[in-house]
Symmetry: C2
Subunit: 361 residues, 2 copies
Amino acid sequence: MAETDMTARSRVAPDAMRALMERLFVRAGIPADDAATAVAVLMFSDMHAIDSHGIPRMRMYLNAIADGRVNLHPKISVVMEGPATLTLDGDQGLGLVVAPFAMRRAIEKAKETGWCTVSVRASNHLGTLSYYPMLAVEEGLGGMSMTNAGPLMVPTFGTIPVLGTNPFSVAFPGGNHSDPFLLDMASTSVAWGKVEIAKREGLPIPDRWAVDKDGAFTTDPNTAVALAPLGSDYAGRSQKGYGLAVMVDCFTAMLAGGTWSMRIPGRGTGTHDHPGTCHCFMAWRIDAFTDLESYRAQMDDMMATLRATPPAPGHDAVLAPGQPEFDGYRDRSVNGVPLHQSVRDDIRALAEEYDVPYDLD
Amino acid sequence: MAETDMTARSRVAPDAMRALMERLFVRAGIPADDAATAVAVLMFSDMHAIDSHGIPRMRMYLNAIADGRVNLHPKISVVMEGPATLTLDGDQGLGLVVAPFAMRRAIEKAKETGWCTVSVRASNHLGTLSYYPMLAVEEGLGGMSMTNAGPLMVPTFGTIPVLGTNPFSVAFPGGNHSDPFLLDMASTSVAWGKVEIAKREGLPIPDRWAVDKDGAFTTDPNTAVALAPLGSDYAGRSQKGYGLAVMVDCFTAMLAGGTWSMRIPGRGTGTHDHPGTCHCFMAWRIDAFTDLESYRAQMDDMMATLRATPPAPGHDAVLAPGQPEFDGYRDRSVNGVPLHQSVRDDIRALAEEYDVPYDLD
């Protein structure tokens, strides 16, 4: 967050953002209930300071709908079901609708069985991944989410992208005095959005993030065409980021019988086909494993100990995983969401294109 | 593997290694059945070219036993059990005995329910992590393993180690023509053993692996006291490696009600207490999610596509995750295990100390 100039931002009331996004989705043909479900995912991002994945993505979703890449009225169906497992077919619906349905089923089944894993095929972009395990945490459970994506990662020793950014997110409930544990990470070194931001601002990128068309590291965002795995190179153990991306494709596409990264239409391919993105969700009851009181006491000890680690020169403190998101939520739920002028301009233009009222200024 | 001088190695028959290690464990007080279980884990490493975690670790295990850090006759008990979940107390037994028991229970329960997650407390060092999911793969299931460990990782922006290397391993069965998928990774940039090898050989280490007593990166293995998370620093997204380590402590210590990384006696603390290491194991039936034939066909497509990625200059090919291990197994099961002279010297010395026959030369 410190990377963005906050002076060009002004605070916007969450309710106004929510209502405007719902109007846009409904006007684009999404049923009202589904629009509310989808906007809840996006608002989670905006409220938790995950500024890349909330309202700024509205144009991407509306374009996907306009291009026919989204089934507006999906019939989500059960492919296979057991007491702790479920495979769903999303019928090419909006990921922001299919994925919340799948995660809620995981939570319901985990409440009965203790653990449930749900694999999903034939879906679409599902928004910020951390929304899903946090649905579990809201109900006192732990949760996990994964999704594959079109090819953007060059594997270790390779020259062209064959895997997606393939992110995953895990959350566990906090203790009596601590926030939850929340991890949300791509298998690549960074998200592609970081390269795009550098391009817009005319700045170089660190030499370990992205590669050019020959697969060589570049600091010029204009020549970057794909991303390095987490770890960047062999010395930094990029085979781990590469392996994590394959792991995500195993839990998503392989288990669901869907489309793996390389077979998903990638960025800029201009296809109007359904992407067929695959996800995986897990939920588990903490009290299926241990008693809640000792769990909470231990989480308090761990989170407090991590935050009390002596900081390195130039840093105020060591952060607990998820702390920027929860700190962001505390700020924004009181003060509103800071939206950059360029985002408000884009949303106003969308409102005009879709002929719905704009009221964020 | 290419990092070690092979000229100082000669090939040893696996059966001789196995028998010698069993003799040593039995002489140290481990019951014969348990000794066979423990040695199977170590031999998996030696056979799969994971040379850091097999027979060279015998001294570490025997020292732990001699120092009273291992309960020779553990009564492994059920703390909590549900249809898809299980929590075990390892009673401070040898991890090489407790962990295989736990993984086999995960596999048995997953065969019934489709998925099982087993959390384990009060255990000890469990050998190479990839052994456990590969037990599942042998029976056609997928599997996962995790363990925490004493503090060795400095969190992002911190100066002292508060988390273990906290590794995890995942495996999925292969297709009709491909090896399984296998990932085995620490949450740190590298294993501590890499720093120790550089120290022995008088070589510098890459500047992104380890830190000195002030938490600053060092290329001198003699001043290195702890490891950086995977990603190395903030620009390389070390908060992901840091977050993965906390995730592992959540799935192991928090779920099992056991000891988290920072509370485990660390390297060189000289304590004779039981470490109380915690693990987590998962197993799942592929055919609980999808039909096996389409699964195998897709795995073949993915693994072949990954290996066919055009390689970067200076590299012969892109490797599939797990390929070095499976290639190593094919070689060693025919030609025997290459053991460095220093390892054979150490094992001979152990055989003398424990008064058992030595026959590896």
